[in-house]
């Protein structure tokens, strides 16, 4: 409750309530935004109509090139309201292609950062294998770009970031979350289906947020910045991360540290999320 008391609900501008396109534009310098392969280019999924599903002419992925404080950036925003933000062939190719082009710009001396606004359940199962392939390609492209310029993932909510795209979030240079956001490989419902309700009760919202929620991910050192659902705070967080530049060592490279942490877990019972805060946060701050 104390956290909510600090928020100025009257004057702040919600980020979560914006759609993907508005989120992307809101982060960029006024007038700098230019959308690439926007809805008027009509490159939609070739696979959905075959299944009686109405495609969307941007395939749920908004790519906007622009600037933040004058520095070149590309924003890749997934629209959670279209097919759960899922990655299909087209939306996946848009992300991977834009990341590669940003990397190529960096490689010829024009540093360009990428901001990934993730609202996604992961692979679009209606495009199954091409979605999974796209996720593998996006992952590879994130690694290529982050060597040169920051790749910043923002998970604001309410869809969260799940499935294969959680790997791309983990590989990003910096991760920004709100307390409303969730991040995990498998959502609670999938675990309940696959492993039973005793393993994960998907109706227990408190449990879900205690594990996947932004506050917890930040508290155990897996997210870099925790912000409220407030455009000014998200924007400030993004700027801070751009200023820091490329990261020297990424969490997804700290294999020995995390392998050791996993070895120390008591697996005879479920892990108390709260107890991880003391052990994990502390050592990642060293």
């Amino acid at each position: 409750m104390s956290r909510l008391q600090g928020i100025d609900f009257v004057h702040r501008k919600s980020f979560i309530e914006l759609n993907a396109r508005a989120r992307a534009k809101a982060l960029l310098d006024e007038g700098s935004d230019r959308e690439l392969l926007g809805p008027f280019e009509r490159i939609a999924s070739p696979w959905l109509a075959m299944q009686g599903i109405t495609p969307q002419s941007d395939d749920g992925c908004v790519v906007i090139k622009g600037a933040i404080d004058g520095a070149p950036v590309v924003v890749l925003a997934l629209e959670g309201a279209f097919q759960g933000g899922s990655l299909g062939e087209v939306s996946g190719a848009k992300m991977a292609a834009a990341l590669d082009l940003a990397a190529m710009d960096c490689e010829v001396g024009k540093p360009t950062s990428a901001i990934l606004l993730m609202e996604t359940g992961g692979v679009r199962l209606q495009e199954a294998n091409l979605g999974l392939a796209a996720v593998a390609e996006i992952f590879s492209s994130v690694l290529r770009l982050r060597r040169h310029s920051p790749v910043i993932t923002v998970i604001a909510g309410t869809v969260g970031c799940f499935g294969g795209m959680s790997l791309a979030a983990a590989a990003s240079s910096y991760l920004i979350m709100t307390p409303e956001a969730r991040l995990g490989l498998n959502g609670a419902e999938v675990i309940e289906q696959e492993s039973g309700v005793e393993e994960f009760d998907a109706s227990d919202r408190a449990l879900i947020w205690a594990i996947h929620g932004g506050t917890q991910r930040y508290a155990i050192g897996l997210a870099d910045v925790l912000v409220d659902d407030d455009l000014a705070q998200v924007s400030r967080g993004v700027r801070e991360c751009i200023r820091k530049g490329p990261r020297a060592e990424h969490r997804s490279e700290q294999v020995a540290l995390y392998r050791e942490r996993i070895a120390k877990l008591d697996t005879s019972q479920q892990t108390d999320p709260e107890s991880l805060r003391a052990t994990w946060r502390k050592s990642s701050e060293q």
Partner: protein, 274 residues
């Protein structure tokens, strides 16, 4: 979902390396060995079922926390050792039914573990190691993303027991609100939905399909033939780019991944117009 544990990974690993146990300190579920491949030594890695695993949701051959970090460590170890010398091939033998679906895994951030393994394989590829994926059984979802899908070349056995997919059939049907029969019917016309490895081959992601007389328990002839094919894929990878572009530039991809190619072409044009 079938509860039968697959022995394919272990059988092919043992056949190709002559080794049957993990490296010291590793969990029983991850097999790693350096063995001869063609004229050089390659590092082979495989995830196998371990009914005594510490993590209860990772006992059936799923890729869990221990598996992912062990893979990451063993791949990085090879990359570090070859830093100034010849880059040994890295071969992922793949038979993974999925990622581990557990609460312990989510709490302790399996998404990061999966990323760490994929990161290690991708770094090896970019560093000049030929990374080859040999799919001998299942290659499903996050399991495959973690172990095998960052390879330069993907080879698969031409066999009904080989399934490469984003999600196992029952769950995919449920989530897309279809019956399994409906899903199977659709998969005839919508190639990326198909569970048939011949259809997967049409997507342009696969280097080659390999026949084996006995996919469950490979014969010495099977091993010899697949070993030869792996060595040839290694040469091919050494001559090709270190990124994944072959997956959308292959002859098959020209037919099936038209949308991917169109997006890449148009994005490149639009990008440079700004």
């Amino acid at each position: 979902m079938s509860n039968d544990l697959s022995n394919r990974g272990r059988a092919w690993f043992a056949g190709l390396t002559g080794v049957a146990k993990p490296m010291p300190g590793d969990p029983q579920s991850v097999l790693t060995a350096d063995a001869k491949l063609g004229e050089e030594r390659a590092r082979f890695l495989c995830v196998v079922p371990n009914s005594n695993a510490r993590f209860p949701c990772a006992r059936g051959g799923e890729v869990g926390l221990e598996e992912a970090y062990t893979l990451a460590a063993r791949v990085r170890e090879a990359v570090a050792a070859d830093k100034d010398g010849s880059k040994r091939p890295i071969v992922a033998i793949v038979d993974v039914k999925s990622q581990a679906y557990g609460r312990r895994e989510e709490t302790a951030a399996i998404f990061l573990a999966a990323a760490a393994a994929a990161n290690a394989y991708a770094d090896a590829r970019v560093d000049g190691h030929p990374v080859i994926s040999l799919v001998v059984g299942h290659a499903i979802s996050g399991g495959f993303l973690t172990h095998g899908y960052q390879a330069n070349r993907i080879l698969a056995l031409d066999d009904d027991g080989v399934v490469i997919h984003a999600m196992h059939k029952e769950a995919a049907a449920r989530i897309t609100r279809r019956s399994v029969e409906q899903l199977e019917g659709l998969a005839h016309s919508v190639i990326p939905l198909s569970y048939d490895v011949h259809d997967f081959a049409k997507l342009g992601l696969l280097h080659t399909l390999l026949h084996a007389d006995n996919p469950e328990q490979p014969t010495p002839q099977d091993i010899e033939k697949v070993s030869r094919e792996l060595a040839s894929a290694v040469q091919d990878a050494r001559e090709g780019p270190r990124d994944l572009s072959i997956r959308w530039s292959s002859a098959q991809a020209e037919k099936t991944r038209k949308a991917t190619r169109l997006v890449r072409e148009r994005m490149r044009q639009a990008w440079n117009e700004v």
